[in-house]
Subunit: 344 residues, 4 copies
């Protein structure tokens, strides 16, 4: 990669502390398949954080795997999952959910976030039983695919509605760290655990080599869950690799420190871009920002920086996505801002 | 794990050289999803080893994942895969293959190995089309689930038969290193590539933290393969983690050195046990051995060593499985032999 | 059913001629599973009609079955099917397509019909391979779920586009008879066969007890198709029941006569309603019409007639769906019109 | 079919009484999808017969459909179904069960019948959770695929064992009529309902054009069952066709009369063959018999009669399958016996 990366939050390896612990523990023999001491310890740290001693916690290697297994384990064959049109499962998982037999009911959402009215419209439109699928789960991402975040009252409303209507609420937390450390965030990890039925904590995009921690609080989803892990190839022989990383992230506040750093870098970028009067596709408090630039400017930037061109806005402007991470150094951000000036 | 482990070959972390390279490369930015420089380099090393420049190579996190993706990508819905009754996909994968919609035709095999006559009997018994599945793939493991290995002429016979009958031949190589370094082995990695349509090289059980390298030589299986990886959650964001490990294993002969060490430790164990006139369930040249002991002896051993009790043999005897690995130290083996003596 | 039925086209048994032939042939022994003389004869009649001697033809019991089997047999696991949002597979099949593992890409369409631009937008939006499904088939219905029909030039455009882009074109013909006999239709059954890769001819909604004839002209979809029938429970033991009905429908022009009658009845209804200045949700030349009435009028009508309230139009008006069939008698239509007057 | 059919029990159309009722009711309008008056009436007749007023009953078009829907609706993804090796789902359904994602655990059985010890051995062999599937249902056929039948005490033992171990017991009753009318049978339809969780009553092979009545007594299988019917294309638009046939079969004793006739014809055949000292592959009291003849004799018979050659017995002998039905006339049976003599 010759360009400076603002493309994603998984271009480096992992936080050095993780490598240290991997090295320290390397030759200590452990049981396989998640029964190792580190996985047990990591579960304990997370249970304490969410203030829920009986949550079931499983570590898997990636987000698509987490999504497909949670959904396949939760739904019966005729049940569907509701997601916003821009939801990761709806766009970027090569049909992973459908491959487990389930329909996704797409809804527009608002700024990437699910609204109670979205869910309601799906339920209202699915009255012709048994000719239609039965919506049974609501999938949300926090932060969302376009960097927005749920406020506590928003999640409370979704949660209350779902419980009232017998729907599971599932939060994809591939970027949950960034969401929980966002400016203005009023959600805690314990709130997330309390308000959802199942969610996961993303390690891959927040400093781990790989790994997501699935947290299940709803008893009916807990039942026989390990079988589903195994059936989809997610029961890692050396589960220690995943456990150790979550020990490193949750033994102290590393998980939150890394996310806060990523957000801070994004915030500096966004502030400077805004100060130059560039508009944004959407306001985001997390580590993904979506400024709108003239295409000529984008072309200049692209010679030095790697990023996604997200969406054409008009004939001469597009929104780009800039992503920062735990590993983004301040000088990169500063240089980007300088470069933006020099291009003027 | 308080006992000395002879239970499996995935109780430690990874060979130290892997940790070194992970640390060296940690902050170098790379593209995601297997497009990183290390994965490209590892593919090149393997292509050279198998003497096949146009093989497609993909790295995934585990064996069940490799098995289910290869099979799902190769077969149409009505096609089945033939495996010996003791085959991993037939026993220990929680229905992973069936979950992708495919039937496994179980056959007895001989000492864990597929015979041409096994395949023939399935084909002969599936003439009542379209009321029966259409067998289309043969799945074998090398080494097998009970530690035996294919000789070159055996693999040639299977390969010729499969090609004649239009069947794909797929080798599960979770323990391929051990097979290729076994006493008496006359197969090379290049032979395996030439005689099969698709196979994989197991890293997890031979010194890696996790990772299997799927090698596809048959063009019809290559087509669109990455979609299947993604659909099953196997397209790792930080593919570098897998690539780096296979660089470490294949840049020089580390992969073979580690397997040879494991085999050597098993050979010493087996020789000493044989010298004490204990019988074996099956003769195995690889890193899994299956001695038969009196149950009283097994009870004594189990106080100090961790291993699987594999199979009851008669009222007072059972076969146990002892597994050695790249990390098994000679003093462990020596001590086991001494302990066996002291128990006499 | 105490009310007069304008709800659907499957409320009666079958055309009496079918019962006659069933009785005549009842005790003649025939081979099972579609190998009977009647099925062979029916296939021959249809092949002549479509002017395609090498089409593969299979009879199945219903439309959902036809849809799910054709799609499952045509697509590989990562491939998707494009359908308009109102398409039957997208709404009213309880997730049947997803249950075979495939994603449906919904598009808005226009008056229930697929546009080339709809397909194009899906292809354009699916460039991020392999993270997204691969669109491979286009599903259309003729007549559509809202009674509209494709003109020849429309089908030609879709067909040319699909062939250019390597997409299968599949026509759901549950109401194909009505479409081909609609006022203004310029498509023949032979045109449909030539312009699509696979389609089916609906018997259930056009005078049969049950039965759809799947016609496959694309060789790659023909391959091993009977296995897919069997796997989904659609290989009827007494295939004669289906064959006999299609003999009755296609030996002479009964299939078209029945559809023309249904259309005629709908046309009289529509003409009279239009003459009273009621608007319509959409102009339809087939056996489904969608007049808009004040809710008070609908309430009056609903006391005597059975029909679907299709869609709320404004605070005081809704569109209803009136469906006529081969069995709708003219006096029913006349009475409905009289009643509509009397309610004024 | 130029030969006299002793090949199967579905070579004719249906019992004439069914055609009569179809004709009588043909133009009476009815609701679709199983909500018609005839289906309701048929359900009532069956509920009375089984002495279970709250059984859920659904009519589907064939046996494979019944099997795959019952199993898919009952099991979660990681659960499996136990069946004897010769079971229909295990051999002759083109992978229909696996296509819904479920593994079948094959067991040897005895004379085609499941033994408690068969089930026990599967449970004993599946302790390594979560690496193996979880057996959850036992599938049996009555009469079996080789014509044998369950006695009441045998079914009671299976039932008690299954309930004790939390397994569903599912009876495939494609030939249930023949079983219940077999010489020596001591099971009633009510016994079957009481001792199983779900079963079906085969119409197709006992005088109907097509149709099987699925009877569900276990509440957990009842839940949302119609969705599964729809999802697999088994919710017939003109459900009246199925309902009417079961009215005809169960309004009085027609169902049992037809089965008794088939058995009687088979009994005469078997008695005469036995009297000529030909051995049998297995003793069967139902409408399928398996005499063993010299291959020369089989060749002679095959010129005039259609039947399956079932199994080679030795170098010069094979077992053939002769099947009688409700429609087999006595003169056919008599002639077969005469011919057998004349060939001597």
């Amino acid at each position: 990669m010759s360009k400076v990366n603002l493309m994603d939050d998984y271009s480096e390896g992992c936080h050095p502390r993780i490598l240290e612990i991997l090295a320290e523990t390397n030759l200590i023999q452990q049981e396989g398949y998640g029964e190792d001491a580190y996985s047990r310890e990591a579960r304990q740290f997370i249970r304490e954080r969410i203030n829920c001693s009986d949550a079931d916690i499983f570590f898997v290697s990636g987000g698509t795997q987490a999504n497909l297994i949670v959904i396949a384990a939760s739904l019966r064959p005729h049940e569907s999952v509701i997601a916003v049109d821009s939801g990761h499962i709806n766009v970027h998982e090569a049909g992973a959910i459908e491959a487990t037999g389930h329909r996704i009911n797409g809804v527009p959402g608002s700024d990437g976030k699910m609204q109670v009215t979205d869910i309601e419209s799906v339920l209202d439109g699915h009255g012709d039983v048994p000719h239609m699928v039965k919506p049974k789960m609501v999938y949300i991402s926090n932060s969302t695919e376009i960097g927005t975040c749920y406020l506590k009252h928003e999640l409370e409303e979704l949660s209350a509605f779902c419980r009232d209507r017998g729907l599971f609420l599932f939060m994809d937390g591939a970027r949950l760290g960034s969401a929980l450390c966002a400016d203005g965030n009023d959600l805690s990890l314990a709130d997330v655990a309390e308000l959802t039925d199942v969610f996961y904590i993303g390690g891959t995009k927040n400093g781990a080599l790989l790994g997501e921690a699935i947290v299940i609080t709803n008893n009916s989803i807990k039942e026989d869950f390990p079988f589903h892990l195994k059936q989809h190839g997610a029961l890692t022989a050396k589960g220690r690799l995943l456990g150790i990383q979550f020990v490193a992230l949750f033994r102290d506040d590393l998980f939150f420190e890394l996310a806060a750093h990523a957000n801070k870098m994004a915030g500096i970028l966004a502030g400077a871009i805004k100060a130059k009067d560039y508009p944004f596709l959407v306001e985001t408090p997390s580590n993904q920002i979506f400024p709108i630039f003239p295409d000529t400017r984008i072309k200049q930037l692209a010679e030095k920086y790697a990023f996604h061109i997200w969406q054409r806005v008009d004939d001469t402007h597009s929104a780009i996505r800039l992503v920062t991470s735990w590993a983004t150094e301040q000088h990169v951000v500063d240089q980007f801002i300088l470069d933006l000036d020099s291009f003027q």
